[in-house]
Every structure is written in C-alpha cells, then in structure tokens.
C-alpha cells in the first residue's frame, strides 16, 4: 500500500506544483523516486517531527500542500500539539502520512505499533482521517482527498494485499460494501480489512453470511451509510488494528446510540497495552484479538448472545 500511495503522490506532484514531501528521516527505498524527480520539493527535515509539522504549517499558509511522512506513531503522537495548533487550528492543507497502522511494524516492538493514531486524529475537528484498506483504495483516497482545503491524516499500511471487491473505490464520508450477507455486518478500517474478509469466509463455512463494509473515511464519518447498514442486521462487529476506544468501534457505537438503532455492537480491537512478548504481525493480531479467527469467534459469540436475549 505504501508504494501505491507514493506512486500516486508522484503523479499528483507532477500535476500540482504545490505538492511537497517532508520526511522525518524515514522512507528508505520508498521516497527516493520523489526525491529524485522533485528535489526542490523534497526535504528530509531530520529526526524532528515537531519541526516537520511546524514547517508544513508555514509552507501551507503560503500556498503549498505539504505531505509530512513518518511511521504512524511518530507522525501523529510526537507532533500532536503541532498538528492541533497548526494545520487543524489554521485549517491548512497539510497531509500527515503515518505509515504502518496497528501491528504492521511487528518485531520492531511496541514503540512502533500505531494503536491510538486513529482515535487522537479523529478527536480534531476539521481533520479528515483516512485509513485505506488496500493499495488501490490508497491511490483513490490520496487523489480524492487532494481537493480538501483542510488537513488530512492518512494511515497507510505496509502490505500489498488487496481486498476483493473493493475495486479501488473510495469516497469521503462513505462506506464501501465489499460483500453482502444478511446475518451480521462487519465494518473494518485500514489494512486489517483483509483479515475481516477472511473472517467472513470462515463464518460462511459455518453458515453465517456477513456483509463487509470498509470504512476508510473515519472523518468525515459515513454517518448515514453506517445507520443505513445497521438498520438491516441484528449484530454489527467492528474491526480495527487499534485500541478499542476512540476509533472505528467508537464511531459506530456513537451512531447506534445517537440514532437509537436496535443493533448489538461488538468491537474487535486491541484491549490491552501490548508489552512483553512480540512477534510477527499475524502473531500479534492473534494474541490481541484482531485476527480473522478472533473476529469470526466474536461474531459467533455476539450472535449467540443476541439469540439468547431474543
């Protein structure tokens, strides 16, 4: 996804001379094509994420569209107040690009696991928060969001896996349905969506048919689409590579509560701080309850509970 995103950024930069790329000294074997083609619009600012966002604020006020690039934790958490008081407060077109959501950085350990980026960025009014599910959607998202006059956060996965049925679709403030089924709605955001699809396959083997919706546009939030989707199912399960509070599960629960929808919501997300043992992304997803198997299990438990209550 990362390379697709950068390819599309290269194309945008060729069309729009205001596009700049700033990196906090990360992006080896990824950013070189941009640096070579547009050296005057590429800055490695050094290991200095706060200054990177401050610079982008000054550049954007003067008419540039700077993309600031780092690993998702460093791109969002270290300079968070600079993002708040800079692009968010001034409503400027700075694009914060955080690479590696959830457990993408696997063996690198917990400092590199972006588990609250979605929640904290979603807390900022004006901030568009976009977590594409696969490379094709990442391309569409960067292009669609380019017209936005205010700030955008992109959470970009590292992997190449495509979500079947997504077909490069992306719309601001919309859900994209990639699978239809009447028993349960699965809603996913970001690259973990490939696991969500796998969970739907596992469920189908047990005779449970799931609708799978991709929520790449966490803000602006697809409030109407979520409500419309949840009107037709008894159980909804959200799935994200993030802490359980503040992200997609919270968003969906907010819609359900505020609109009084008669649906039970189960949130598949990380519920404890990962510490101690680490491993591959797959191993971590399993351990913290966000693997395909864990999601399928959560769906079955939620359906059982719903049936017991009914």
């Amino acid at each position: 996804m990362r390379n697709a995103f950068l390819d599309e950024l290269l194309a945008l930069a060729a069309e729009d001379p205001s596009v700049m790329l700033l990196t906090g000294d990360l992006g080896f074997m990824v950013l070189e094509p941009f640096a070579e083609r547009f050296p005057e619009r590429f800055y490695n600012v050094g290991v200095a994420e706060q200054n990177m966002v401050g610079l982008a604020t000054g550049l954007a006020e003067a008419g540039f569209r700077p993309f600031v690039y780092s690993i998702a934790t460093f791109a969002t958490l270290r300079p968070y107040e600079f993002i708040r008081n800079g692009p968010a407060l001034h409503d400027l077109p700075v694009r914060v690009v955080g690479v590696g959501g959830g457990f993408d950085y696997a063996h690198n350990g917990v400092t590199h696991h972006a588990l609250e980026d979605l929640a904290v960025m979603r807390a900022q009014p004006r901030m568009a928060v976009i977590a594409p599910a696969d490379p094709g959607q990442a391309r569409s998202a960067i292009r669609t969001a380019h017209a936005l006059p205010g700030p955008v956060y992109f959470r970009i996965g590292k992997g190449p896996s495509a979500v079947p049925g997504l077909d490069d679709r992306f719309d601001l403030g919309r859900l994209e349905i990639v699978r239809e089924g009447g028993d349960v709605a699965l809603i996913a955001t970001g690259a973990i969506a490939s696991e969500t699809i796998e969970a739907a396959r596992l469920l189908a083997r047990h005779g449970i048919e799931a609708t799978v919706a991709i929520c790449a546009s966490l803000a602006p939030a697809p409030l109407d689409d979520i409500a419309a989707l949840l009107e037709r199912v008894p159980v909804a399960v959200t799935h994200e590579a993030a802490y359980v509070n503040g992200g997609l599960g919270s968003l969906v629960s907010e819609v359900v509560a505020e609109q009084g929808l008669p649906v039970r919501v189960t949130r598949c997300a990380v519920r404890e701080m990962p510490s101690g043992a680490t491993g591959s992304a797959g191993w971590l997803q399993e351990r913290y309850g966000i693997s395909a198997k864990a999601v399928a299990g959560a769906v079955e438990a939620a359906l059982d509970q719903a049936a017991t209550r009914a």
Binding site: G46, V53, G54, A56, G58, A62, N85
Partner: protein
Amino acid sequence: MRVVRSQALAAQIRLSVLQQSKRAHIGHIGSSLSIADLLAVLVDEGGLELDRGPVRADRDRFVLAKGHAVLAWYCALHAVGRLSAEQLDTFAGDGTDLAGHPEHVLDDVDFCTGSLGHGLSIGTGAALAARLQGSARRVVVLLSDAECNEGSVWEAIMFAAQHGLDNLTAIVDLNGQQALGYTSEVLDLSDMAGRWRAFGWDAVEVDGHDCDAIKAALDAPREGRPRVLVAHTTFGKGVDYMQSRIEWHYMPMDDTQYAAALEQVS
C-alpha cells in the same frame, strides 16, 4: 527622526499595555513591557511590510512565538493605526478577536501561538515558502528566552541553518525571567548568542530597548544565514516596581500600582 518616532511608538505601546491590563484586570504585563521597543521598530516605517502590494500573501510574516505577550502586539498595531481604539477595548472580553494569546482571526495575526516552542518552526516554514516562491518577503519570529527550553525550538534552529534561510530573523527577548523564576535558576541559557552561533546562526546581541540598535541589527546585510537578535531586555521595562520581579509575570495591578505605573511611562 525615524528612531525618535519608534521611541514615541514604544512609549505609546507601554501606556496602552498598562491601560488595557488594568481595564481587563489581567497579567503578563512584565512580558509585554519588555518587548515594547522591539515591536515599535517592527511596526514603524521600514520595519515589517504588513501591506506589500495588493496580494496579502506577499506581506512579511510575523510570528509572536511568545504569544502570552500579545497585548503588546495589539497595542503596537493600535499605535500605528492598524487596530482601532474600539477594537483594542474588546481585549479579553466576551466574543473578542483579541484573545490573551494571538489568534489568526485578527487580520494582523498570521499564526495562532500560545503554546511555546511552535512559533520558530512555523516561521521557518514560512521563510522556506518565501524562498521557494522567489518572494522578497521576510519572516520575523519573536521568542521568549525561556521558550528556548523547548526542544522543538532547536529543531527549527538546525533546519533554518542547514538551509541557509537568510530571509528569517529570530528575536529572543532575553529578559531573564520565566513563569516561576529567573531563567538562570531554572535552566541556565547563558551565552544565548553563543548557543545560536554554535548551531550556525548569525547571532547579534543588542540592547532590546535601543530602537536604533534594534533597527540596525535587523537591517544589516545578510550572508546566507538566518539571523538572531539576542535582545537584552528588562522584564517590566518602564515600571520600576515590576522590573525584574517574578510576580509581574502573572499579577494584575491594583489602583495604587496602576497610578504609579502610569506616572512612570507617561
């Protein structure tokens, strides 16, 4: 002649700072008084070009990184007729555009500041933008000395030096005080100029209350490096009982104190 005018502007800024602080019953008086002369030079003719041609984007940028002293900026704008007396009287009131830290809803505030350590990064980005756009506009960032406690200030210092941004000027208001104590006792930043110089800046030490010296330091030819004016100032300058007294970082004045202060700056 021009310097005489700057001095008169500075006197007017000090008077307005006292009047508005008293009316609104708020503090940050000492921090505002210490930068009155610096701001007078910046808003005087030959200082910042706040209206360069018909396009707003072409004007010089000013970042008051030490946003807590914004009352002095409002008073400076008022002194040169860019802010009406009526507007100034809304300072710190309900629904005002004149907050206790600068907000860009006001025409002559380019950037919201108030959280220390942000301003120099933003100003450095603004200077880089001007250079990339081939614009002659300049960027001035006014920092407090204690603000240099913030690591992000040094990130910006390194970047500006690395890229030789000589359209960027930082001014450090070296008044030696911070909220809870003297800077030398909190985090000692003595030889401030030497510190910036070691990071690649053209550092000039000036008397921050000498308009002539300030002006000369701003205008001296550049040689491909950003410049910092380390402005030696007196906290609470102009009011004897406030000068170099920690409590005047936050304290408002009572009636007796106000009368005494007015007498001294008038």
